[in-house]
């Protein structure tokens, strides 16, 4: 058995599949474990106790407390309470707490091994952070079988347990699904396409400025401000830390109360210690909506931006699945209803735990991520080579997937061979030459500029490791030069629950969008030894006989002839090609 581990920004939760359902291993209060750790001398306090002692909202280090330590991953060290600590160790402390507490859970004892896990990660977590997170899990004896993006896990979990799964999948076939994971710390968005037995990620987005804690903080701040103004509280009359902590909890309760009644009062006795004034303020739902509107608007703006980036209108989204604790908030629901229509917004009862459950189901179903789009090498004369094809299985724990491509340099005259790595922007079963591409990056190696074209051999090696990082290495044989690059922003798909076939992606109705403009690299590598691929000017330098216009197979093509002539000055006046002063032949 492999567990699902949602190592969330705000909360963390382990879930596993037993029989036909999942079991979530909550803490003693029946809630997920807050992803918070506090250091007091030699003591490490993690989870709810550390969370309750924290007054501030937001992510990162607050005194001797770290909230959402995974956001620190990627840094070498951070200072916590004046002590330099490794973010990996901090993350490991939280994981250790979650694991040890979950192991003590009577539902887990004897039923669950905790040594292997499918771990969910935010869509924005890059490769080095994934590697660091894997190390933190390894410190606790947990082998990460696979990382999976949180929204993808949520969608898988929802589809896997949907009451009428077949009908639902049929209804969503070749349709877009937007997963909105609106939790306490972050808003994560993923646009997916359900196609031919697979879930494919199209676009990812989100924000860490509109999390549920931000809502509580805004409410608290606004209530205190309004009451202070109405009651004439002096600026010096500052509440204690404990009072502020309690008021933050009160704000959360107020938020919940206003989801059920038109108005509610927030009350904290002796909040202002100097004057001994009780904080007592009645807030209506309308006022609450006004207070939190900017946050909700920002969240919706993020959604719009994501859809815009994919050239998709809200009407094209067939289902908006809302996960995370904020899904229960009426204001958020109503805004999503306005955007997509009530019938297309799905808020499951277990939305707060859907990600962990999805990870558990993926572990149970032994699902493996697959590459969502072709990764291509752009070659000379506009051709492209799919070096990693869509549908390629991603490596799991300890595995590495390798591909090696042998290439030639068509034009070594500038002493460099260029390797542009691109991916299709949209999901298509057979990407066409004219389809827009997104550049992942460019590699360049030094080549022997004196060598004839198509002589120096080049190699392009691609490796995808279990942290889903694409490492690309380009090598030249003669100059023995190497260039390396790593790409983290890959997109993945996964088989739909209960469907084995992961066939090719079919045509979708997304707009292609404009071609990229500006300067482009003249790519000079090819995968076959064909003189017709050599630029005409370069070919002339090495084989002038190819331009003798004699019949034969080794003669330059028309394209090569033009390329050659373009770089030749006018035979009469020696003006360059296109010079208006030339009245002989090439000039205007």
């Amino acid at each position: 058995m492999i567990i699902g581990f949602d190592f969330g920004t705000t909360n963390s939760l382990i879930s596993f599949v037993m029989g036909e359902g999942t079991i979530n291993l909550f803490d003693s209060e029946g809630l997920p474990f807050p992803s918070v750790v506090r250091y007091e001398g030699q003591s490490v306090i993690a989870g709810r106790e550390a969370r309750l002692a924290l007054e501030e909202v937001g992510l990162g280090v607050y005194g001797n407390t770290v909230r959402s330590p995974k956001v620190l991953l990627g840094n070498e060290v951070v200072s916590v309470g004046g002590v330099e600590r490794s973010p990996i160790d901090i993350v490991a402390d939280v994981i250790r707490h979650v694991r040890s507490e979950s192991e003590q859970n009577p539902r887990a004892k004897g039923n669950v091994p905790f040594d292997r896990a499918v771990v969910t990660i935010p869509v924005t977590m890059n490769g080095p952070k994934r590697a660091a997170l894997r190390e933190a899990f390894a410190q606790n004896g947990i082998s990460v079988v696979q990382f999976v993006h949180e929204p993808l896990a949520a969608l898988y979990g929802y589809l896997r347990t949907a009451p009428d799964r077949e009908n639902l999948l049929r209804k969503l076939l070749k349709r877009y699904v937007l997963v909105v994971d609106w939790g306490g710390g972050t808003l994560d968005l993923t646009l997916c396409l359900l196609n031919n037995g697979s879930i494919l990620q199209l676009r990812n987005g989100g924000s860490d400025q509109v999390g549920g804690d931000q809502f509580d903080e805004v409410i608290r701040h606004e209530v205190v401000k309004r009451f202070s103004l109405e009651s004439g509280i002096m600026a010096t009359d500052q509440p204690t830390k404990e009072a502020r902590q309690k008021l933050r909890e009160d704000s959360e309760k107020l938020k919940i109360a206003l989801s059920q009644r038109p108005s509610a009062t927030i009350y904290r006795g002796g909040y202002f210690p100097e004057s001994g004034t009780n904080l007592e303020y009645e807030l209506t739902r309308r006022e609450l909506d006004e207070i939190i509107r900017p946050l909700i608007t920002e969240g919706v703006r993020q959604i719009d931006a994501l859809l815009d980036s994919a050239s998709i209108s809200p009407a094209q989204v067939s289902m908006c699945l809302v996960a995370g604790g904020m899904a229960a908030m009426p204001s958020i629901r109503s805004r999503l209803h306005e955007l997509f229509g009530p019938e297309r917004v799905v808020i499951p009862e277990d939305s707060a735990t859907l990600i962990a459950q999805g990870a558990a189901w993926m572990a149970h179903d032994e699902q493996t991520l697959r590459l969502a789009k072709d990764i291509e090498l752009e070659m000379a004369r506009g051709s492209r080579l799919a070096v990693l094809q869509a549908g390629t299985l991603m490596p799991t724990d300890g595995e590495i997937r390798r591909e090696l491509v042998h290439l030639y340099c068509t034009d070594p005259s500038d002493g460099k061979a260029k390797f542009p790595i691109v991916t299709t922007r949209d999901l298509k079963s057979q990407p066409q030459a004219g389809d827009p591409r997104t550049s992942l990056g460019l590699l360049s190696v030094l080549v022997d500029k004196t060598a004839p074209p198509l002589v120096e051999r080049l190699e392009l090696e691609l490796e995808i490791d279990d942290n889903l990082i694409l490492n690309v290495t380009a090598k030249s044989s003669q100059r023995a030069n190497t260039d390396k690059a790593s790409f983290y922003d890959l997109e993945f798909g996964i088989a739909l629950p209960g469907i084995e076939n992961l066939g090719p992606v079919s045509v979708i109705d997304a707009d292609s969008g404009p071609f990229p403009c500006g300067l482009v690299v003249r790519t000079n590598v090819v995968d076959k030894n064909d003189p017709k691929l050599i630029p005409g000017d370069v070919l002339y330098g090495h084989n002038p006989n190819a331009f003798s216009r004699r019949p034969g197979p080794n003669q330059a093509t028309e394209e090569q002839l033009i390329e050659h002539l373009y770089y030749q000055p006018c035979a009469l006046c020696r003006s360059p090609w296109g010079d208006p002063s030339c009245r002989c032949a090439s000039g205007g």
Partner: protein
């Protein structure tokens, strides 16, 4: 018969002989009265035979009898029972008897006498010690005969399990040098003589085996047929002619009677065997039916067993699934209980805090807030009650 023997050499070996061979050419005419006067043992010969006078030399009469027999020169001996009854046999004179027989046998170049003498004894119904003594003397006669130099003949006589082979005997005899009695001139057997000696030896050997009860008469006939009597097949008519010309019908009759009896016996055995065969076939058929029936039963049992195994396996799988499902159900029930417990705990804690705050507000004179908090607490508790009721399947 003598005519046939004359042609023996020119015909295939072992296929022409119809009886023991005589050396008729060496016989001298003897008067019947002469024989009767000179033979004190009253040895009588057949009408064709001419007795040779044998001077009496012993009181027992044995020598005289033997002398007379050897004097017959191979002609058919016609001895009577009384000729033997007067003999006085004594073990103490055995060596003298042997000396006599050694002398006499050298005169019988073609080994004619031993089997004829044995035949005559049988016809004279000689029994007991006399017959045994004379048979032993005949054996000595063979042993001391020049033909005994043949290794094969030695082996035949010394073996307990006699298996005559006429071809080998003849080959062996062709290498033997012999001489006429008293002449001292040794010579090789002529081919025709080899045949005669071989046939005479085989005739003696077969009769000796029969008389010593080592062979049955059937074995005697079969061995004689194989080694001596065999002849090439003639046509029906020729066979009839040959048989019709036979002067002595008695041996033919005996032979035919024996074969007829044996055929009858074999026919009976065949019928018995057939009956047995039919019986066995019937039993085999019954056994086959029983076996088929058993096989069907075994097949049925095996099918039943496989079905039962499958059923057991199915039930075990079902049981394992049920056990797993039960275990999962138990865990889910426990989990549901835990979820409900923690939800109630959180609810009670929240409402307790709310009431506590309401109480504080009441104490501070904020009656409105206190009332609201109490209302909110009551609403929450009522909702929880409704929720718990609905979990139990009650609407109210």
């Amino acid at each position: 018969m003598s005519k046939q023997n004359e042609n023996l050499e020119s015909l295939p070996e072992g296929q022409r002989y119809v009886g023991p061979v005589d050396d008729g050419e060496t016989l001298q005419p003897v008067n019947k009265s002469q024989l009767a006067n000179e033979n004190p043992s009253n040895v009588s010969v057949s009408e064709e035979s001419i007795a040779t006078p044998i001077p009496p030399k012993d009181s027992s009469g044995t020598w005289a009898l033997l002398e007379a027999a050897y004097q017959s020169r191979g002609r058919k001996l016609s001895l009577k029972k009384t000729d033997f009854e007067n003999l006085s046999i004594s073990r103490s004179r055995w060596s003298e008897d042997v000396e006599v027989i050694e002398r006499l046998t050298k005169t019988d170049t073609l080994l004619v006498l031993p089997h004829k003498f044995l035949a005559a004894m049988v016809q004279a119904e000689v029994v007991g010690s006399v017959r045994e003594h004379l048979m032993n003397l005949m054996r000595e006669a063979v042993i001391r005969h020049p033909a005994y130099r043949s290794r094969i003949i030695q082996e035949q006589l010394s073996s307990d399990q006699v298996t005559p082979n006429s071809k080998k005997i003849k080959e062996s005899l062709s290498q033997i040098r012999t001489s006429e009695a008293g002449t001292g001139d040794e010579k090789m057997y002529k081919p025709i003589e080899v045949n005669k000696v071989a046939i005479n030896f085989l005739s003696y050997l077969a009769l000796d085996q029969l008389l010593r009860s080592k062979w049955t008469v059937e074995r005697y006939i079969d061995e004689m047929f194989a080694c001596v009597w065999s002849s090439k097949s003639l046509g029906h008519f020729a066979t009839g002619a040959e048989l019709g010309l036979a002067k002595d019908h008695v041996p033919l009759g005996l032979l035919a009677a024996n074969y007829s009896q044996r055929m009858q016996l074999q026919s009976q055995e065949l019928q018995t065997a057939r009956r047995m065969g039919q019986h066995q076939a019937s039993r085999a058929s019954e056994a086959e039916v029983e076996r088929d029936s058993g096989l069907v039963e075994i097949l049925k049992l095996e099918t039943d067993l496989i079905a039962k195994h499958e059923e057991t396996s199915r039930l075990e799988t079902l049981l394992a699934l049920e056990r797993d499902a039960h275990s999962a159900d138990q865990l889910h029930h426990a989990n549901d209980n835990e979820l409900m417990r923690t939800r109630l705990l959180r609810q009670l804690k929240t409402q307790s805090e709310l009431l506590s705050d309401g109480s504080h507000a009441l104490g501070s004179g904020s009656l409105k807030t206190a009332n609201e908090f109490m209302d909110r607490a009551k609403e929450a508790i009522d909702q929880e009650i409704e929720h718990l009721k609905s979990m139990g399947g009650f609407n109210q």
